[in-house]
Each structure stands twice: as C-alpha cells, then as structure tokens.
C-alpha cells in the first residue's frame, strides 16, 4: 500500500509597518529590551487599542496577493490564554469573521487553496537566563502586527510545502509588506500533517508540528513526520492527535501536548474595537497597485521569453531587477542573452559589493543592452565585455563609447590575427611541440596567448581556426 501526506500550513507573517498594530510604538527589531513599549502594548489597566490603518492596508494587500476575497465586514476577537509574554493574557486576533477568505496560489501548476487570512498582534519574548533564578520578559515585540495565513490541506508533499513557502515569501516581498525572514522570526510556520492511502479521500489523524526555523526545516520535519506516521500505520499503531515540536539537532519531532491538553481560548468579540468595514473602492484601488506576482513572472519568462528556468528564478527574486530585465527586453529581443549577462555581470557585481539592485543608480537598460548586443554581434569578445561591464554598471557609460575610445572592438581582420598567431608559434615552441605530439587541449593555451597580445580583442574562434590550419 502506498501512502501520501496531506498537509496544511499556518503561516504567521510580521507586517513591516513602522508602528505597532494598536499603538504608536516602533516595531524596530533588535532594540534594547522593553524600550519600544507604552501603556497600550504593555496592557496596563485602563488602556484601549486603536487599529493602525497601515496594518489594515498591508493586510488587505497581502490578502489580495493571495487571491483572497476581502470581507467588507470583519471584526477582532480576544483569544485567551495565560502566558507571561502576553501582557493582557489575551491576544487580539480575528476568529469567526477574518479579514479575507478563499484565496489560492499556484504551485507547480497545482492550486493550493488559502482558507483565510486574518490580522493579530504578536506576543513578547521570554528570556531565560542560566545565572538568574528569574525569567525575564521583553515586550518590544508585543503588538507587532501579524497576519496569519491558513491553507486548506491541499499540499501533498514536503517539497510542495517548501515551494509554497517560497512563492508566498516572494509574493509578500514583491508587495513590500514583509521581508519574511524566518530566522529573524518575521515569518513563522506551523504545519498540520496526516497520511492517507494514495488516491483515497479519507483523511487520517493529523498532528501539528511547530518550531521550524527555516523553509528547509519545514520540509525536513514534514518528511520525518510523514515517515513516522506511515510506520505507525504499517505496524498497526495509533496516531495520536497532538502537537509536536521539531528538534532540528536530532532531526526528529517530539510530542509537546495532546488534544486533551489543548487550550480553550474562550474567543469573544473585542468590545474595545468597532467592526472593520472595508469599502469596495478601497479594495479596488489597492488591487490596481498590485504588481505582477513573482511566480507569474517566472512562468512568463520561461514560457513566453524562453529564459532558462534557473535564470528566471534568480531574476524574479528582486522586483526592481525583474523590471530592469523587462526594460532591457523591450529594446532588444535576445532575452536569453540579456538574462545571462544580468546574472553573470550584475548579480556578480552585487554579490561582490554586498549591495542591492536598487542601489545601482546609474545603470541604464539602453547601455546594458548595447553591451549585450556588441557581444552578440561579435563586435567585442566576452572578455572585453566583462572588463567594461563594471563601468557600465557603476557609471552608466555607453559601452559603444568605451569600446571606440579604447579601440576595443573585436579584431576579425584575418591578416592582423595571423601576424599574432605567427608570433606565438615562433615564441611558444614548447607548447607547439606538445600540440603536434597530439595534446590537442593545449590549443586553448595558445589561443589565450594571442588573446593576451590582442588585449582581448581577437576573435577567439578565428584564432583557433588559424592555429589548426597552421599547425
């Protein structure tokens, strides 16, 4: 009997607003403990929450980017549990009337449905110290805005979960609502998993896994949990409905609490906040601002522009770079070549200088296209192109101008090249000897010598041909 996993994800994403969801405190990460706090986020006696409109806007934008329908009437609810990092001992969240519902994203040509998206406040952080009898609480994170995204159990493999998260992250980054950094906690993911016989529609008992700190960890935890559940079934043992923790060191999941120990959150409507009424016009206006989503771009690049998937994958990671690429494509139609040169020159430049694409203030599509064209037309060699690309990227100088100033256009004049080839044959006697003895791969060395003499301008193809002819 073959089994398949049935997976649903619950993803919490911190929205990158400058202030918290119900007060004016800063959301800045990494500040001194309890410095970004006020009576409201500390939940002192008598305080009241006031919804930050920017949170609502970004939450709607995120929901639209997940193809959800926005509820024109939703509300906040209180979710109760006692824990020292939760100053009111309830979290303001949304229960039965979430902000958005019924969305989806496409993963590998398969629709993964989004059940709901809702807004809520983050909790603080407990700090346990080895040398103190006390535990400490840092409330800086308390009240940082979150959206919770819940999928339907439409995911059928750990790698599909991984891909889903990547697409989700890229989408959120594109619409600039979150940086989705799992290590810093701006994205958190819990997974529900059960197994069933392949093709069956009967669901098994599910477990919830928590405590994964990377997308790979989610994938690994799901792989482990799938195996564990299948083994239990095969050995006729019962799967307990429970919450399990991912232990990333031993790469196993461990039981945390059973269904019986589950909290009764005693949800009820937050009386301090009026219902959230979202006007249709507002939604429409936000819809208009939505950019093309990265995964849709990827598909278009690969299918319509014939870009190698590996290139497309890289191009879409940065919205501004993707739009630069598209601007280049608008003036020159060798899309693949443009994509290759962006990846080999620009990405390398960014990595080397540890900067972001947006910081390339002088880079112009027309100059970059000119560079690619010069190579494509055989007027300069790749090596020359590589040499001058930094100037094109940094200073925005026209490559044509650079090339003509320095006489860097490719040497295709057979006579001039022949002169250089002869020179090399006369000086590199050793290499010539080896070539004649049958070590054909020494040819590239000889070609290299000619290239050196021509300062990279000789057409390497022509040079090689000449050598073959002469030797």
């Amino acid at each position: 009997m073959e089994f398949e996993p049935v997976i649903g994800l619950e993803v919490h994403i911190q929205l990158n607003t400058s202030s918290k969801i119900f007060c004016n405190c800063s959301t800045k990460f990494g500040e001194r403990p309890n410095s970004n706090v006020c009576p409201v986020c500390l939940g002192l006696p008598g305080v009241l929450p006031v919804l930050n409109k920017e949170v609502l806007r970004k939450a709607i934008l995120a929901s639209l980017a997940l193809n959800c329908s926005i509820s024109n009437f939703s509300k906040f609810d209180r979710k109760h549990y006692f824990y020292p990092d939760l100053p009111k001992n309830y979290q303001i969240s949304q229960y039965d009337l979430p902000l958005a519902k019924n969305g989806y994203i496409i993963v590998n040509n398969k629709k993964i449905r989004i059940k709901r998206v809702h807004m809520e406040e983050d909790a603080g952080k407990l700090i346990h110290s080895e040398d103190s009898p006390y535990s400490y609480v840092d409330f800086n994170r308390t009240g940082v805005p979150l959206i919770e995204i819940v999928t339907e159990p439409d995911i059928n493999s750990p790698s599909e979960a991984y891909m889903f998260l990547n697409i989700l992250k890229n989408r959120m980054k594109y619409i600039e609502v979150s940086d989705c950094n799992m290590e810093e906690g701006s994205l958190r993911c819990d997974a529900n998993i059960s197994v069933r016989v392949n093709g069956s529609d009967k669901l098994g008992v599910k477990t919830e896994i928590k405590n994964m700190n990377s997308f790979r960890a989610v994938e690994k935890a799901l792989e482990y949990e799938f195996k564990r559940q299948v083994e239990l079934i095969k050995s006729n043992q019962k799967i307990e409905q429970e919450t399990r923790l991912w232990d990333s060191i031993n790469e196993i999941t461990i039981s945390m609490r059973s269904k019986e120990e589950a909290h009764d959150y005693r949800y009820f409507p937050e009386p301090d906040l009026p219902p959230i009424i979202v006007e249709k016009d507002f939604i429409e206006k936000l819809k208009e601002t939505l950019p093309e989503m990265p995964d849709e771009k990827f598909k278009r690049y690969v299918e319509d522009l014939n870009i190698p998937p590996a290139n497309a994958e890289i191009l879409i990671t940065d919205k501004i770079m993707a739009s630069f690429f598209e601007n280049c494509c608008a003036i020159y139609n060798n899309y693949k070549s443009i994509s290759n040169w962006i990846i080999s020159e620009i990405i390398q430049y960014l990595n080397k200088n540890k900067i972001e694409f947006i910081e390339l203030k002088n880079l112009k599509p027309e100059n970059f296209v000119e560079l690619v064209k010069l190579v494509d037309e055989g007027r300069i060699t790749s090596r020359v192109a590589k040499d001058i690309s930094v100037k094109v990227i940094e200073e925005g100088i026209s490559p044509l101008k650079l090339v003509s100033e320095k006489e860097l256009t490719q040497l295709s004049d057979a006579k001039e090249i022949e002169k250089l080839v002869d020179e090399v044959i006369n000086t590199e006697l050793d290499a010539v000897k080896k070539y004649k003895e049958g070590k054909k791969n020494i040819l590239s060395y000889l070609v290299g010598q000619v290239m050196k003499k021509s300062q990279g301008r000789a057409n390497p193809k022509l040079v090689a041909e000449l050598f073959e002819k002469k030797l």
Partner: protein
C-alpha cells in the same frame, strides 16, 4: 454656609469676584475629609499636590489669566479609584492593584486638569466596580453620610458619599450597570450616566467594556451639567468614543417648555416589591409634572424582565477577559515567594489572594459562559437579548422624549444586609441595568427622603446623545422638589 458646602457654580462666581481662593476652598474640603474620615469615602488623598495646584490657579485668577477652557478652575473634585491619575495609585478597590502606580493619565483626568479642576483624591469603590453597596472594597466599606449604618450604594459609593458629605464639590464616577445612579440615589445627589461613547474610557480600568461609561456626580443638576461639559469630547485613543461636535450642556438648561414633551412610565418598573415609600415619592413628582402640562402615559418595555439575567452574562464574560491581565507578573500584588513553585502556582495563588469573593465569582461566571460549548447558549444568546432590550427602548423613544422610573427599588440598605446574598444584591440594580445594555443616557435626581432619613432618587432616561434635554428636565424636576420642599417634608 461653609465653602465646601457650596456648589461649583457658586464657588466659581466667588472665585471670579476674588471673594475666595481655590486654596481656601480646597483646604475646607480637606478639613471636612479629615473630620469625617470614618465615612471612608477616599482610598487616597493628595493634600499637598492639590493645595499646590489650587495656589497655581489662584495666581491665574489674580493675574486674570484664567482661559476659556478652564471652566472649573480651582474647584476641588474627587475621582473614582478606577480612573488612572499619573504618578498616583489606582487601586480599583482591590488588593491585586493595591500597589499599582499609574504611569499615565486617563483622558478624563487630562480634561479635568485642562479645565482647571483640583483633583483631591481617589474615591473608594466596590472592587473593580463589582458591587452595589461598596462592601466589596479591599479598603473597607463606605458609610452612607445620611445614616452611617447604611450603605452608600455602589460601585461609585465613595464618590457619592464624598459629594453628599461635602468632602468634595463634585466627583467622577463610572457606571456599568447603575454604579453612578444607584449610589447617587442612595446618597441624595445627582448622578448621570452618559450615552455610551460620549465620554472617553481611555484610562478607566475596564470592568465590562461594552457597558462601562464615566459620568459626573454632583449635588445640583447644574453642577452635573458643568462637569459633563468638562469630560465630554471625542478621543482618538478610544475607538468606541463617538465623534460628535461638542455640546454646551449648561447653557439653556433653564429654557425648557414642559408642554412640548411626552414622558413614558414603563409599567415593568412599577412592579410589586418596590418599597412603598419609593413608589409614593415618584408618584408625587409625577403628579406635579402632570400639573406642569407634561404629557405622561404608561408604556411598556416588554423585555425588562430579562435585563438582570442578561447583564449577569455579558458583564462577567467581559470582566473575566478584562481582569485576566492581573496575574502578578508585571505589576500589582504578587503572592509571596514561598507559595510559588511554578508558573501556574504563581498565577493561582496571586489571583486567589489578590481578588475578593465577588470578583472571583464574576470571573468564574464569565469564564464559564465563554467556554467552548457554552458560548452559544449563554454569551451569544445574551447578545441577542441585549438587542431586544435595545429595541424596546428604540420603540418607546419613537413615542416619548423621556422615560421615568425609580432609580432603585429601595432606599439604601443596612451594611451587611445583602452582602452574603449575591442574588438579592444584584436585584438592587434592576432598574439601572437596561440603560447600560442599551447604551442610553440616564440620570438619577434626588426627590425625597424616607422616614429613616434615607434619600430616594428618580431615574430619567432619554434617547442616545440627548443629555442636553435630559439635564433640562432634571433641572426642572430639581426645582419642583426644591419649591415643594419634598426633601424636607418627608413622604
């Protein structure tokens, strides 16, 4: 007459004329508080700070620098101890907040300060405003100034007693189910619960958020209107505060033409079980109003009988949530170390010892009614009943400008009389609860005294945001009571 026995408006006149100083008035009030400490109206008084503030105001008067917004400049005022005053304790009458110093001001406190009021102290109250007699306070009961064997009512019992006993010129209270009106009635003063959303709740320690409202308590209707002028106004810090333009409740308070108004007497409020003296006192006033050409008819609010039950689902449910934050972790009382073995025991012992019986009773009721499996049967149903109660009023106000009822079915009861019988205690609020459920403005005006010298109050309800008219008719009634000497002659 002593300074502390004058009304705020009388004192303001004297202050403006330079006849008296705020320092003298404030000092007179503190002398009275000292003499009459046994009333136990205050949990904390701020003598030094208040006298300093009074001197500052006196200087402004001297230099003619009082500005237009300082409408109660130099008048001593008491604030209920569930309203945050920066730098001073806000205890809510509870052990669990007995050492809590508020780091911020409630909006109402800011408005009082901007108005030039002198905050003299924080008044005693039922613990977290849960009670109708002031007996649930961690700081001991308040005595009724008219008869010290009796309760002053609750939960704003300290504010009511302070005002009635001339230990303040007027005071701020809060009303969740009658907590301003019932003690006002028991202590023979005027107490107004404004429309929900008229006064900011920011800084009012929440009991039941959808019902709580801050309001003025004073010895005269005009003082009550004056204080309402100080504390109203839209507050962006309170999302339930209503953004309407500011109204002057004091101007035109005397311009009132009875024959234009219709009054309804809801029959459900004139049931058997009302103290005959209360009934008689109300009847006497109504007779006078009829003489004044008001149109007065019996009407019905058919869902009234469910109000108490409805309230005792909704209020405890919200309270169980609002009071969850008092856990000994961040501020307030925490159980001594030797009782703590783990996190749960810290919570358990702190809350067991920090809260009194009535508060714990309501937390338990509220926790139960919000539990999964019970929510629909209790809380959700209570919300539906609340809607029906509100609709009763909407219908009645299509026909009537005002509804008149007794404020409480009885006069003040003896200390200890009902404290062990919560159900009996809860019925003391039977006539005041509906206004909170419906969010309506309602006022209690003193109209008589019983044979035992205990005051009797009359309640008037009006449609949402009709405080201006409500205060006009209250002033009208106050004058009838004065003219006919109802308060002197007994019933």
């Amino acid at each position: 007459m002593k300074l502390n026995e004058l009304s705020a408006l009388e004192l303001l006149k004297l202050l403006k004329e330079g006849e008296v100083s705020s320092y003298e008035i404030t000092d007179a009030v503190f002398k009275r508080i000292e003499e009459r400490g046994f009333i136990n109206a205050y949990i904390n008084i701020f003598r030094g700070e208040a006298l300093r503030n009074a001197s500052k105001i006196d200087e402004l008067y001297l230099n003619k620098k009082i500005n237009d917004s300082q409408i109660i400049a130099g008048i001593p005022i008491a604030v209920k101890d569930n309203i945050c005053y920066k730098g001073y304790p806000t205890t809510c009458g509870s052990r669990i907040l007995s050492n809590f110093i508020s780091p911020y001001d409630a909006t109402v406190v800011k408005k009082i300060e901007d108005g030039g009021g002198i905050i003299i102290g924080k008044t005693n109250m039922d613990e977290f405003a849960m009670g109708s007699s002031n007996e649930t306070s961690f700081f001991g009961p308040v005595l009724n100034p008219h008869h010290t064997e009796y309760v002053p009512g609750g939960s704003s019992g300290g504010s009511a007693a302070a005002v009635a006993d001339f230990q303040a010129i007027f005071a701020i209270g809060s009303d969740t189910g009658g907590s301003i009106r019932q003690p006002a009635s028991f202590c023979g003063i005027v107490g107004l619960k404004p429309t929900y959303g008229l006064v900011s709740r920011y800084g009012l320690v929440a009991f039941a958020s959808s019902l709580d409202q801050i309001g003025p308590m004073a010895r005269t209707v005009k003082d009550c209107a004056l204080l309402l002028n100080v504390i109203t106004g839209y507050d962006p810090k309170d999302s339930t505060s209503v953004n309407i333009s500011k109204i002057d409740y004091l101007s035109e308070i005397e311009n009132f033409e009875p024959k234009n108004f219709k009054i309804g007497l809801p029959k459900e409020y004139f049931i058997e079980g009302i103290d005959p003296e209360v009934k008689k006192a109300i009847d006497k006033v109504i007779k006078e109003l009829e003489k004044e050409k008001f149109i007065i008819e019996e009407t019905s609010l058919p869902h009234t009988e469910y109000a108490v039950a409805d309230y005792y689902i909704i209020a405890p449910a919200e309270a169980s949530s609002n009071l969850a934050r008092y856990d000994g972790i961040k501020y307030g009382f925490r159980i001594e170390k030797e009782y703590i073995s783990n996190l749960i025991s810290l919570y358990f012992e702190t809350r067991s010892k920090g809260f009194g019986d009535e508060v714990k009773r309501r937390i338990l009721i509220g926790t139960y009614s919000l539990s999964s499996g019970y929510y629909d049967a209790y809380y959700l149903k209570a919300l539906k009943v609340r809607r029906l109660i509100k609709e009763d009023f909407d219908k009645a106000f299509e026909k009537y400008d005002f509804l008149i009822t007794p404020t409480s079915p009885t006069t003040a009861f003896k200390i200890g009389e009902k404290v062990d019988d919560p159900l009996k205690m809860y019925l003391s609020d039977i006539f005041t609860i509906s206004a909170n459920l419906a969010g309506l403005p309602a006022i209690s005006v003193p109209i008589a005294k019983s044979k035992e010298n205990l005051p009797i109050g009359l309640q008037i309800l009006a449609p949402h945001f009709q405080e201006k008219k409500l205060l006009q008719i209250s002033y009208f009634i106050e004058n009838i009571v004065k003219e006919k000497e109802f308060l002197k002659n007994g019933i």
